[in-house]
């Protein structure tokens, strides 16, 4: 009887403890987003969101240039990373035989996936920004996108590999039995079937590069202007032409948030938090999109 009571008590105690932990976790996260939203209310208006910083009277008064810059940076980095990472995934899953070599390749990709972003940042700064300056134009949109493409390469590769792994063997065997070559099978069966999973990886990659800050600071620089398509005379570049916005510095939301830390007396508190809120919303919408694609895919099956 005594033992039964003790076991019952233990059971109840642990329900309460785990419940409390869950409550603390969810409350903490709600609190953070809520507090940031509350702090940013005074600064949130259309002028703040759509004006380039250069057109405002002071520093940190508007973030239009940063919003556009973040979108450009994340899209361009995904465009760079996408072909190589999906190609690698298809090669590992469909062409390579399981061996020490493929295991090493996967280990290297895991290492890249866990690489601290500051390491990619200094690599980008020294190699892409300084050594490749004639091509990238130094601190520029293209330097930032290249450095971040390395960051999101493993994200897309893993998602693609996983998606390709879910394609039923029977479908592919059916295609080959009907006389399809390996390439037609991949093109007509494997890729269409795995497309939603691959898309999810791509969207996650966009989100990952939108939230990145250390790499952007070290490779993309910062610009108060909207990125615009233009050509500039620059004798140091090949053909003497510098192509904007690709070979010019570009702003990013994470840098706007970072400025609040660097210049706390210049950037108004509400503006810094508003930039943070916009960044959170953008990343969350992107992640929500990824979940939606995955969800529709699961229902489709």
């Amino acid at each position: 009887m005594e033992l039964k009571k003790k076991r019952f008590l233990e059971e109840k105690t642990f329900i309460v403890i785990t419940g409390l932990a869950a409550a603390i976790t969810s409350l903490l996260l709600i609190l953070i987003v809520g507090k940031i939203a509350l702090e940013s209310l005074p600064a949130l208006n259309l002028y703040f969101l759509t004006t380039a910083e250069v057109d405002t009277p002071g520093f940190g008064q508007a973030i239009g240039n940063s919003i556009v810059g973040t979108i450009y940076l994340s899209l361009l980095s995904v465009i760079f990373a996408m072909p190589i990472s999906i190609g690698t995934a298809i090669f590992l899953k469909k062409y390579a035989r399981e061996s020490v070599l493929t295991r090493t390749v996967r280990f290297l990709i895991d290492v890249l996936a866990g690489m601290p972003s500051i390491v990619l940042g200094v690599f980008g700064m020294l190699f892409i920004v300084i050594y490749l300056k004639p091509l990238t134009g130094g601190f520029s949109l293209i330097s930032g996108a290249l450095a971040m493409a390395i960051l999101i390469l493993p994200v897309i590769e893993k998602a693609a590999e996983e998606a390709i792994g879910t394609v039923p063997k029977e479908l592919e065997e059916g295609s080959i039995a009907l006389g399809g070559t390996k390439w037609t099978t991949i093109r007509k069966i494997t890729i269409p079937y795995a497309l939603s999973g691959i898309m999810t990886g791509i969207v996650l990659g966009i989100g990952r590069s939108a939230e990145e800050s250390a790499i952007v600071v070290l490779t993309a620089g910062y610009s108060q202007f909207y990125p615009v398509l233009e050509t500039l005379q620059n004798p140091k570049m090949p053909f003497g032409v510098q192509l904007g916005p690709f070979q010019e510095p570009v702003g990013a939301l994470s840098i706007s948030v970072y400025h609040m830390f660097q210049f706390p007396n210049i950037v108004p508190r509400a503006n810094g938090f508003a930039a943070a809120l916009v960044l959170i919303v953008i990343v969350m919408v992107i992640n929500l999109l990824a979940r939606l694609i995955l969800w529709r895919w699961k229902i489709g099956q």
Binding site: F123, E212, F261, I280, M284, N287
Partner: protein
């Protein structure tokens, strides 16, 4: 007439040539070669990246030897580079972060996977997973502009007055709220969603029959969790924690803002410190043109890579190849 014949003959020849070529191409399997090239490019990028960092760092390792890891003095003007304080800062920060985040997220995961009513799980899980995406720079300014005052005036003094008789809980920097405790509190909030959602996944993958067998033998739910579910899911959960460790170790932006940035070996959990990542970020802009200083900063990056490779190896050894993101 002759022209027509000539063009006809030419067409005939070129046609046969091109069909020969397509036959050759068919045997060649062009898509396979393209995919192989993609794989080779990926490997080249990774190997080149790591080799580039170590090559740039090499002069420092040659000059300082083991002194780079054991030395405490980091001075550009004296040409002395000892990273012990930075390494200590990163290790203490990571350990404290895991000590705070691990119990909270594992218990949350157990609640979500086992106890919580399905309706609540349906709301909480996606919410927690969406919060993985809050950028670290946002956590940084949140910690600095919202939490710093609370830590300076309330939390640090009260911890110091209650536990101050133990040296590691003394408040050595009463004038600031930044320090290891603030940084690791914020970092642990940052890695909570990662560890929680991966642990829930591991717990959910435990076969239903195991639990049913345990319950049918008369075990309570908690006993089932303690003796059956958690041991079976442990490798997945450890992988989740290792991922958290990696994120905390490699974090830059939030740490730069919250750790205080004083170059010394921290004397207590409330003391300020300096992490490897923040040293690189703060100094690379000024010293990228100076060969020797740049090499020293890249040496820190090389040490970070070494730590990271060891952690990845450990995680793969424990849990096989799991999802990382």
């Amino acid at each position: 007439m002759i022209e027509e014949i000539r063009t006809a003959v030419q067409n005939e020849f070129s046609g046969s040539k091109s069909s020969k070529r397509t036959a050759f191409l068919k045997k060649l399997d062009v898509p396979g070669i393209v995919f192989l090239l993609c794989g080779i490019i990926t490997i080249l990028i990774i190997v080149f990246l790591i080799a580039f960092i170590f090559y740039t760092a090499l002069p420092t390792f040659q000059n300082e030897g083991l002194g780079f890891i054991t030395g405490i003095n980091w001075d550009y003007s004296q040409h002395e580079y000892g990273a012990l304080a930075l390494i200590a800062g990163t290790i203490v920060l990571t350990v404290t972060t895991i000590a705070i985040a691990c119990p909270l997220s594992v218990l949350t995961a157990i609640f979500l996977a086992e106890y919580s009513p399905p309706a609540l799980t349906k709301v909480l899980r996606p919410m927690i997973e969406l919060l993985v995406g809050i950028p670290s720079v946002v956590y940084g300014i949140f910690g600095l502009f919202v939490l710093e005052k609370t830590f300076r005036y309330n939390i640090n003094p009260s911890i110091s007055s209650v536990l101050g008789f133990i040296p590691i809980f003394r408040n050595l920097q009463p004038s600031t709220g930044t320090g290891i405790l603030l940084a690791s509190t914020v970092l642990s909030i940052m890695i909570l969603p990662t560890i929680t959602s991966l642990s829930v996944e591991a717990l959910n993958s435990v076969p239903r029959e195991y639990k049913e067998a345990s319950i049918s033998l008369g075990a309570t739910k908690w006993e089932t969790i303690k003796k059956v579910v958690v041991p079976v899911a442990s490798s997945g959960m450890i992988t989740a924690v290792v991922l958290g460790i990696m994120r905390a170790m490699g974090e830059t932006m939030a740490v730069v803002m919250l750790l205080g940035g004083q170059m010394h070996i921290p004397g207590s959990f409330l003391d300020t410190a300096y992490a490897m990542t923040s040293k690189i970020l703060n100094d690379i802009g000024y010293y990228v043109a100076d060969d020797e200083a740049r090499s020293a900063l890249f040496a820190i990056a090389a040490v970070l890579i070494a730590f990271e490779v060891i952690t990845v190896g450990a995680a793969r050894y424990i849990g096989g190849r799991k999802k990382w993101n």
